[in-house]
């Protein structure tokens, strides 16, 4: 991917925020590093309430859309998991994806702040 200027990047991010909760959940799942499809499914189903309908098909479409948007990309199995089944497909965040994730998180935080609800997030 060609290196983008900071302003161009900012514009690209702004064009994509806010993002849908399911997409946000997938990006969050990838924040710690590359993951396989099933791990993403587990993470999303565990963190997003009432997302019981997120199955293999829905997940595939979501990942494909995110790839087309340039937010994630396919990758090799991470080091240390090389013994894993070679057929497994891993996804990881692109720079743009990471920026969108952060921007969305920041937007959510601002929303909470402006509503005076930040204590709900921090627990204080």
């Amino acid at each position: 991917m060609a290196k983008r200027s900071k302003t161009a990047m900012r514009a690209e991010v702004a064009a994509r925020v806010p993002i849908r909760p399911a997409a946000f959940a997938v990006l969050s799942a990838l924040a710690q590093g590359p993951r396989a499809g099933f791990e993403i499914l587990e993470f999303v189903n565990a963190t997003v309430p009432r997302s019981g309908l997120l199955g293999p098909g829905t997940l595939y479409r979501l990942l494909r859309d995110l790839r087309q948007e340039g937010l994630i990309q396919r990758t090799q199995a991470p080091v240390g998991e090389a013994t894993a089944d070679e057929r497994r497909t891993y996804s990881q965040l692109t720079a743009l994806g990471e920026a969108v994730l952060l921007a969305e998180a920041a937007r959510l935080q601002r929303t909470f702040e402006s509503a005076g609800l930040l204590h709900l997030l921090t627990g204080r």
């Binding site: 199955g55 293999p56 829905t58 595939y60």
Partner: protein, 873 residues
């Protein structure tokens, strides 16, 4: 299910996806599926329904995105593109006509749910084998006497068969479970207690969950007191304690628990129902009674290779030999042998088969309803068809387009159907009916897949014929004429005949339901022989430990009866061992009466002399029982029995003999008959004084008049004052009677909902055709109104579009209804199958429904303002 099988199934399901998408995604989908299947944390049904829903959503979304705004690029493969386009267009049309879409989806969903629910029941209850190994070799044995009487075998006969019949691997007996008080370390509970003979569990192939079954030494006269408990009782009541030192008290004895039966163990219960018991005791420890004391469920396992016919022949041979040996002492002139499975399902099979038939009707009506909707919309779009065809669409493409259009509702319809089936089954199971194995029935993945397949089949079948007809028109003609929206006569005829068929099928269901309703009404309303509405029934169970001596029992009942009669507001009270409902399956209440050559079955009623007055029975001949001095050898019989045995001669002074009471009874009088709750005929009854048989009176019932709340309260208080440790339950008698109608009510309820569904669908069909006619005729109506036509005539012509097929449907329906009603005759009591009133009601209901459905759209013509309409045109 193994992981490989699951993966194969999923791979098959992937075919739902558009081909190009499947090719690109299959590997990744399978990869995620494998991991998801391995790590699933939900039940099988939930997992597969999630997976199915996910695939359906994906398939729909992928198909829909074909018409999207360039997010996705060109698709490859021509066939795929055409189908995707059809699908996309159909979806868009659905969005444009949400009313049509919703009506069709609901019609499909309800129709499929009817079929799904009944098929789930049939599969779970009828088709799944009994949960024993080799159930086809398990048979049930019944004694038949020369007069055609059927008896549950007596133990000496069972014992003879066990020793002599070479065709069996074994013969075992079980006593009908009875509700009694069970004392355990944590307290006292009421529970069912059964008893089984040697070999019973080995024969059925049942192994214990914990511990062991009875040893032969335990199941022998005077063996040690031991018991088996059900898994539910062990976990629920006993807290799953270790068996070491665990014991229970039933009656005067304490039993050591030696084993726990597997969860869900069931066997035959009262009246042959499939039932459970909390505790099982060894049957052969106590005296199982003489050769004429009937009442044991008897089951045998055929040796491998022996056919039922062979076994029957040999068994009757054996019965002959035994009859010669024991003479009059045995009633087993012949032995009836049935497969246990058939026996368990005897009473359930027929209602379920009838419901299957009814469900098929509902499904057919659904088909024709959807077909009519496709036709109707197709007619309205005749012009579009013509344009498509002129632009070069082949007939095949038109048919495909119409088929796809009718099939897009298959998925939401199937989803609705699965939800309704699930809810319906849960509702049925909550009713706690005594349908054998109902609690084991599940809506599983197979049922979901089946429903979906059926949905596709139904929509395709419903769409195919109209599609062929609609696509067959010559496009050139249609485009040219101004009446492009006025379809040919044969289309209208087809449409109307579809509606007529719905009316005909609906008529059969409505008439059948009316008939069932009238039958139940007859049963509820026919005179019982006593005034059930004014009576309270009180169940009493004296604890055996506290009331071991006959004197104490008699004293308690005498005191209770005296105090109840003295209560303010009580008109009359009596005591009986058996309430007038309880029929003849219980050992203690049945006996053979012998008068010289004839043996009959009758209910034995231990009563106090005031019982007849409390129940409101009429004295026919002879004298009542002596209210002061109990005379064990005297009996009162009911008029029905007197007629049966004495043919109109007075029975007073005659002798009756039976095996159970040892004394010969002398008849002193007769009273009016009492009807059995679930039948129109009366059960023969022999009444003897309870005070003469204090050994048999642990469990008795009071009947108290009148059935007011204050009397109920004061009776309860009084009984609790006498001895708070005697458990009693009080209930208006009418309430108990209503429970015995539960199964008939269930059949009626399901039939009624089916009938209502078809009625509604047929009415929708009529509505649709009239609404279409109204829309088409607005212009001509406006012109005719301007020219001075009477508004009534104008409405009449629109109405006729709905009423003509209704009349035809009713006529055809009558022809169909006659055999349909004949089929349900076995479920009727006191009504003829071809009851004219039921048919008349059915016809009137349908005619009224159809007329209303036609009138609603037609009346809008009355409000047509010619100027507005003509200006629009």
């Amino acid at each position: 299910m193994s992981a490989e099988r699951a993966e194969r199934r999923y791979r098959g399901m992937l075919r739902l996806l558009p081909q190009s998408f499947r090719e690109e995604s299959e590997n990744e989908l399978l990869e995620v599926f494998r991991a998801a299947y391995a790590g699933r944390r939900v039940g099988r049904v939930r997992f597969w329904s999630r997976i199915t829903a996910d695939l359906l959503l994906t398939a729909l979304a992928e198909a829909g995105s074909a018409r999207g705004s360039g997010v996705r690029t060109r698709r490859d493969g021509r066939a795929g593109r055409g189908l995707g386009l059809d699908l996309a267009q159909s979806l868009r049309r659905l969005r444009q006509e949400p009313g049509h879409a919703a009506a069709s989806t609901v019609a499909l969903g309800v129709g499929l749910a009817a079929a799904g629910l009944v098929l789930t029941l049939v599969r779970g209850v009828l088709l799944t084998p009994l949960p024993f190994p080799d159930p086809d070799r398990l048979v049930r044995l019944i004694e038949l006497d020369s007069g055609g009487g059927r008896f549950y075998p007596s133990f000496p006969n069972i014992s003879d068969w066990r020793e002599n019949a070479r065709i069996f691997e074994g013969v075992a007996a079980a006593d009908v479970p009875q509700v009694r008080t069970i004392l355990h370390a944590g307290g006292a509970v009421r529970g069912r207690i059964g008893a089984v003979s040697r070999d019973f569990f080995r024969l059925l192939g049942v192994t214990t969950l914990v511990g062991r079954t009875f040893t032969p030494a335990e199941n022998a006269r005077g063996g040690p007191p031991v018991a088996l408990v059900s898994e539910e009782f062990w976990r629920g009541t006993l807290g799953a304690q270790p068996l070491d030192g665990l014991s229970l008290a039933v009656g005067a004895e304490t039993f050591a628990v030696v084993g726990v039966l597997p969860a869900g163990f069931r066997f035959l219960g009262d009246a042959g129902a499939w039932s459970t018991a909390s505790v099982w005791l060894p049957l052969e420890r106590d005296d199982p009674g003489p050769r004429q004391s009937h009442g044991y469920h008897t089951v045998a396992r055929l040796r491998p290779g022996i056919t039922l016919a062979d076994a029957r022949a040999q068994m009757n041979q054996l019965a002959l030999v035994l009859k010669q040996r024991h003479g009059e002492e045995t009633q087993a002139d012949q032995v009836q042998m049935t497969l246990l499975t058939d026996d368990v399902l005897r009473q359930t099979r027929e209602p379920l088969q009838l419901l299957s038939g009814a469900a098929l009707f509902v499904l057919l009506v659904t088909c024709f309803n959807l077909g009519a909707a496709v036709l109707g919309r197709g007619l309205a779009r005749a012009r579009e068809m013509a344009v498509r065809s002129s632009l070069g669409a082949s007939r095949l493409q038109l048919v495909r387009h119409l088929l796809v259009e009718s099939s897009v509702i298959a998925v939401p319809g199937a989803v609705l159907a699965v939800v309704l089936t699930y809810a319906g089954l849960a509702q049925l199971q909550r009713l706690q009916l005594s349908i054998p194995r109902l609690d084991e029935v599940r809506v599983d993945g197979g049922a979901v897949v089946f429903t979906l397949a059926l949905a596709l089949l139904v929509t395709a079948a419903a769409g195919a014929f109209p599609a062929l007809v609609l696509s067959a028109r010559n496009p050139a003609l249609r485009l040219r004429a101004h009446g492009a929206t006025s379809p040919g006569r044969e289309h209208r005829r087809l449409w109307m005949s579809f509606i007529a068929v719905q009316i005909a099928l609906a008529l059969a269901l409505v008439c059948g339901t009316t008939l069932l309703t009238r039958s139940l009404q007859r049963l509820v309303r026919t005179d019982m022989g006593y005034d059930a509405d004014r009576l309270i029934a009180v169940d009493v169970s004296l604890p055996e430990t506290r009331y071991a001596s006959p004197e104490r029992r008699l004293a308690w009942y005498a005191a209770a009866l005296g105090r109840i009669r003295a209560l303010p507001g009580v008109e009359a009270a009596g005591l009986t061992g058996v309430l007038p409902d309880e029929t003849t399956s219980r050992t203690a209440t049945t006996l053979a009466l012998r008068r010289t050559e004839r043996t009959v079955y009758a209910g034995l009623r231990l009563v106090d002399p005031g019982y007849f007055r409390a129940l409101g029975l009429t004295w026919m001949t002879g004298e009542p029982l002596d209210p002061v001095v109990p005379r064990p050898a005297l009996a009162v019989i009911d008029a029905g029995l007197a007629r049966q045995l004495w043919n109109g001669d007075s029975p007073v002074g005659s002798q009756l003999w039976n095996s159970y009471l040892t004394d010969t009874l002398t008849v002193v009088g007769t009273v009016s008959s009492v009807r059995e709750w679930n039948e129109l005929r009366s059960a023969g009854a022999v009444y003897v004084d309870y005070r003469a048989h204090p050994d048999m009176i642990l469990d008795m019932h009071f009947v108290v008049r009148p059935a007011t709340a204050s009397v109920l309260r004061s009776v309860r208080t009084t009984l609790e004052q006498i001895d708070p440790l005697v458990p009693v339950t009080l209930e208006p008698l009418r309430q108990r009677i209503a429970r015995t109608y539960a199964e008939r009510r269930l059949l009626l309820l399901i039939a009624a909902s089916f009938a209502a569904t078809t009625l509604l669908l047929a009415a929708l069909g009529v509505y649709g055709v009239v609404a279409w006619a109204v829309g088409r005729e607005r212009r001509s109506v406006a012109i005719r109104l301007v020219l001075g036509a009477h508004p009534g005539r104008v409405v009449g012509s629109a109405l006729s579009f709905g009423l003509l097929p209704t009349a035809l449907g009713l006529a055809a329906g009558l022809v169909l209804t006659v055999p349909a009603l004949w089929v349900i005759r076995s479920q009727l009591t006191g009504v003829a199958p071809l009851d004219p009133l039921s048919m008349l009601i059915g016809i009137l209901v349908l005619a009224a429904g159809a007329t209303l459905a036609a009138w609603l759209p037609a009346r809008t013509l009355l409000r047509v303002d010619p100027r507005t309409v003509l200006r629009q045109e």
